[in-house]
């Protein structure tokens, strides 16, 4: 009886949730469950799915050279993008926090890449990295005399992934900075003043006061950027793929999601790709758990 009353009381709220819930169910929840089942089948989109048990997972983990190449590349990408990206953002946030002149202008400037679509940014950077004298980067570096031999940045295995990493860091700084700035502004002035009166140097204030107080924000950023970086797609798809090969010359920039895309939507191996998706999910889930555990450990 009581339950019913409660339901009635919240009926309006449920009604408000309903449209979003329906849309999410159709486009997210149901596909998530469906792809879990598909991951145990062989399915080309045309003939009905054939149940094959764990075959997809076994094939991926033990016989798929490209999967491991993609995992290594992705980890490499994450290891560089996340810490460097957050460190840069922190530096920018600290600079903007110092009430410098034109700070609104700078803030907008740094945030611009965030509101631009990654696809558009990738196309522009593709031109920057272009080979010969036609690429902007080559042009500038040769003018400065730093570069003796023209590089084809996106066409040689050693520079493809680093080039994409640099672009991603640049593209991500804006969003991280805004979040960090919000975090900085929530630190009460009184705390900083107290530290100042106690004779703490600016560096000490940063290290012992500001940084610890930013911890929750930082944890949020680390987790979010790790998840985002594991799912890197557009950059690789646009900058390092042609119609005949994908993920760069000799798969030098092949990461997990572009590989998944290739399996699913170029080759229509939908079961195999679903299994890949769940493996990616497992990796991200585990890393998030580790982050949570580590941060709890430090809190105690």
């Amino acid at each position: 009886m009581k339950k019913r009353k409660k339901f009635k009381k919240h009926l309006i709220s449920y009604l408000f949730i309903l449209p979003a819930f329906l849309i999410l169910s159709i486009f997210v929840f149901i596909p998530v469950v469906a792809s879990f089942f598909l991951s145990f089948t062989e399915y080309d989109g045309i003939s009905p799915p054939k149940v094959v048990g764990l075959k997809n997972y076994v094939d991926i983990l033990f016989h798929d050279r490209l999967f491991w190449k993609a995992v290594i590349n992705t980890v490499y990408y994450v290891i560089f993008t996340v810490p460097i990206g957050i460190a840069c953002s922190l530096a920018v946030a600290m600079a903007l926090y110092q009430k410098i002149r034109f700070s609104a202008l700078f803030r907008t400037g740094f945030f611009l890449p965030t509101v631009t679509s990654v696809a558009a940014i990738s196309v522009v950077w593709r031109w920057i990295y272009s080979g010969d004298r036609y690429g902007l980067l080559n042009y500038i570096l040769t003018k400065l005399g730093v570069l003796a031999v023209l590089q084809d940045w996106l066409m040689q295995p050693s520079t493809t992934l680093p080039a994409i990493i640099v672009m991603s860091i640049w593209g991500g700084v804006g969003y991280n900075t805004i979040i960090l700035l919000a975090g900085l502004q929530s630190i009460p002035d009184s705390v900083l003043e107290a530290a100042k009166i106690d004779g703490a140097t600016p560096w000490e204030r940063f290290w012992y006061v500001i940084l610890p107080m930013l911890k929750p924000v930082m944890l949020f950023l680390v987790i979010m950027s790790t998840i985002n970086s594991f799912q890197v797609f557009e950059q690789v798809y646009i900058m390092a793929s042609t119609t005949e090969y994908f993920g760069g010359v000799l798969y030098s920039a092949l990461t997990i999601v572009p590989y998944l895309y290739e399996r699913a939507f170029k080759r229509f191996l939908l079961g195999y790709a679903s299994a890949l998706a769940y493996l990616l999910f497992a990796i991200i889930f585990m890393i998030t758990l580790i982050y949570m555990k580590v941060s709890k450990f430090y809190e105690q």
């Binding site: 989109g45 272009s130 010969d132 010359v249 000799l250």
Partner: protein
């Protein structure tokens, strides 16, 4: 309220029912530009509909999403009656059971069409005696050169290296603008050397031959010794500035170059690819085919439309209209060529090169195997691996992936 209900609910319902009952409509998906789709539609309205009483709806699908879109449509059985598509796709979809086998259903007509179509393109469209798509147009790889910088285009591999040495000395080089570092760029060299991907029967790969080794070594040298750049995105700019006065690319630049670089009028031309050790100038030929989907309720009428599009007069009109959009349409019908309003000098080269060209191997499993060829090529050029070992590995993989 009632009126509103009628407007929003009943009216569309009637419309949708009405659409279903129209038996005299053919839907065609055209892989290519919006303009081309419009041109086909206009020609159909002008000649085909008055004669046959069948109207044609033509929708364009962009190249980048076309393959995926077809596969999704096949899975969902929401297909048009007809579709133009990449050269090898018709066989692929046909193998999946989505397309009408035309030889079986219209033997006499297909035989007639075959007689008039360039042999080089037909071979790629036919798979073990089965025809799922009729060639709709052609794309062929050619040599572009700046006649003010290179007096005579190279005729043999030997001459090509000499020209390149000369160009390199002036800080210039050549670009492989169609298929750099991949199998499309490599194939002409393979065939010119006398090699091939598969044996004649398509039962095993023969890529580990002496001929293929010669070809891959030569192809790799172009990049490693003669400064051919790995990426060829800037061919237009390089050709214009004269830094890359030589290039291998598809015929699509012929009608766009005059618009992009009017100042070069008379200073550039096209030539046949240089002869390889086997004495052949074989080029890579691609193009589109048009086929009928099994789900169509108007198969006979759809085939009438394919025959209509294959008429010399219609192909000529398509050429003229497409040329107005700064693009080029090369008809697969041999007989129409003498009437095409292309510059005589260009037409001669195009005609010769199309006759001496080959399409992607017509072997099931090839589409999944191209990555092994690409890997071998890139390993040799970028990672300095040995030609012999790479081709050996490649041959094993190719043979393994043939679908029998």
């Amino acid at each position: 309220m009632k009126k509103l209900f009628r407007l929003f609910f009943i009216f569309p319902l009637i419309l949708s029912c009405a659409k279903k009952e129209q038996k005299n409509v053919l839907t065609l998906w055209h892989v290519g530009s919006e303009e081309e789709a419009q041109i086909i539609k206009n020609l159909a309205d002008k000649y085909f509909t008055p004669e046959s009483g069948i109207s044609v709806v033509c929708e364009s699908v962009s190249w980048s999403e076309a393959h995926t879109k077809y596969l999704t449509a096949i899975a969902g059985e929401v297909l048009p009656d007809l579709g133009t598509m990449g050269l090898t796709w018709a066989s692929e979809f046909g193998y999946k059971g989505a397309m009408v086998e035309l030889y079986e259903r219209f033997p006499a007509d297909v035989e007639t069409l075959k007689k008039n179509i360039f042999k080089s393109i037909w071979e790629s469209a036919e798979l073990k005696g089965k025809v799922y798509g009729i060639p709709f147009d052609l794309t062929v790889q050619l040599l572009y050169y700046r006649s003010d910088i290179i007096s005579k285009p190279p005729q043999t591999w030997q001459q090509l290296t000499e020209v390149l040495k000369n160009l390199n000395a002036q800080n210039k080089s050549m670009m492989i603008a169609w298929g750099s570092l991949d199998w499309i760029g490599f194939s002409p060299f393979l065939w010119q050397a006398g090699g091939d991907y598969y044996n004649k029967e398509g039962t095993k790969s023969i890529i580990n031959s002496e001929e293929a080794k010669t070809a891959l070594k030569f192809f790799a040298d172009l990049y490693k010794k003669y400064n051919v750049p790995r990426s060829a995105e800037n061919f237009g700019a390089g050709f214009r500035s004269g830094e890359y006065p030589l290039g291998m690319c598809g015929n699509w630049l012929i009608n766009s170059f005059p618009y992009e670089m009017p100042e070069l009028e008379g200073k550039w031309s096209i030539g046949l690819l240089p002869k390889g050790p086997s004495g052949k100038r074989t080029s890579f030929i691609g193009g589109r085919v048009i086929g009928i989907f099994k789900t169509s309720k108007n198969i006979d009428k759809a085939f009438e439309f394919i025959k209509f599009l294959s008429k010399p007069q219609i192909q000529k009109e398509i050429y003229i209209e497409v040329a107005k959009t700064k693009n080029i349409y090369l008809p697969p019908n041999v007989n129409i060529w003498k009437d095409l309003p292309i510059k005589e000098e260009f037409k001669k080269v195009l005609f010769e090169q199309i006759k001496e060209a080959k399409g992607p191997p017509s072997v099931l499993g090839w589409d999944d195997s191209t990555k092994y060829v690409v890997e071998a090529i890139q390993n040799v050029i970028v990672a300095d691996k040995s030609v012999e070992e790479e081709l050996k590995k490649c041959e094993e993989k190719l043979t393994q992936h043939i679908i029998k």
